[in-house]
Symmetry: C2
Subunit: 209 residues, 2 copies
């Protein structure tokens, strides 16, 4: 934005950092950098600390692989959660979206992505071994008394469907019930503007009233 | 975004920090926070350092009050700049905008805002004393040989106009030429969509071809 004669290196470096964030272009990056320049020393320090703390204090829950600030996350350590109902999601954002509802009383398993052979992302790059081990442990604890259900809640796109299918084939032989989220017209949506595949899925999955 | 059960404090704190930035809402703040979570330790450290460095290393140029990483900024210390042509702007962003052109060969003076009595921003809150002192020093250096011109380049809104007018009244008795940026139809703009005041100014300020 500034040419050589107006160069203030620390400002440029800060704008560079903002520009690396998703959805932030060159103009916005400078706007944010100028904004931080008006911060008090304490405010700037809190911002810097928040970034470092996020990296330093956040780890993966040893059970569900979700982000956590303790060895077992706050969801997995809740006694009232149904440990035999596992919602399998792509990343921590999906957990946040479902938790916001406050309706789901099961637990989660965060895959850390989806299968994508073209990007070199095979099953070994996802938290699938951890899922299998987790189910094995559950089986030992429960005996065959309780049914284990895994909701394959990957996104309804090509990679998400393939990943759900792959995992379903792994889990069904183990006697695990695998389900998938319903597809159809979004609530408040409009039949007229629904795409063909969605409309077809909505008809196919129709329910009796 | 996450309810109590999904609470990961360091992530929340980072999202809070992003939410304080202009134009970043709750959803974007979380998106950015999750993005930073994927940073390597070194990347997070550079980001944090950039914030602290911007505060620590950037000061005000002792001549023009623009942001600078040295006592006299890179513009004021250029020998080829015409020191008798001072472009008076509201803040450092305006300097960047004009410098980007690469056409202006004068120097700047950054006011640090505009007069706004309702917000308690009187002349003492702006860098007006510094401007008067600067002109006094110039006069001593030059004698009366060179004309000093101040371009009052505050924004063309109520506060900007009032500030320009105030400064013009201060400087004219000192024998300083005070000018104001031309107002008119933006290049590439459309007469049909110009507002009344702009159109009037464009007619009033018409130039012979």
């Amino acid at each position: 934005m500034e040419n050589k004669s107006g160069f203030v290196a620390p400002l440029e470096r800060l704008a560079e950092q903002f520009k690396k964030l998703p959805g932030i272009g060159k103009k916005s990056a400078y706007r944010l950098a100028y904004h931080v320049l008006d911060y008090s020393d304490a405010q700037a320090q809190s911002f810097a600390d928040a970034i470092l703390d996020a990296k330093r204090l956040i780890c993966r829950c040893s059970v569900c692989q979700n982000i956590s600030d303790s060895e077992v996350c706050s969801i997995c350590s809740q006694a009232k959660r149904n440990k035999n109902l596992i919602c399998l999601v792509e990343d921590p954002r999906d957990v946040a979206a479902i938790e916001k509802l406050g309706e789901f009383d099961g637990v989660y398993h965060v895959l850390g992505g989806v299968l994508s052979p073209l990007d070199g992302k095979g099953p070994d790059k996802l938290k699938i071994p951890e899922l299998l081990k987790r189910i094995e442990v559950l089986r030992k604890e429960n005996g065959d008394e309780y049914e284990i259900e895994v909701i394959a809640a990957t996104n309804p796109n090509v990679e998400g469907e393939a990943t759900a299918m792959y995992i379903s084939r792994l889990l069904k032989p183990l006697g695990v019930k695998v389900t998938r989220l319903a597809k159809g017209i979004p609530v408040g949506g409009d039949l007229e503007y629904a795409d063909d595949v969605t409309l077809f899925k909505a008809i196919e999955g129709r329910v009796e009233m």
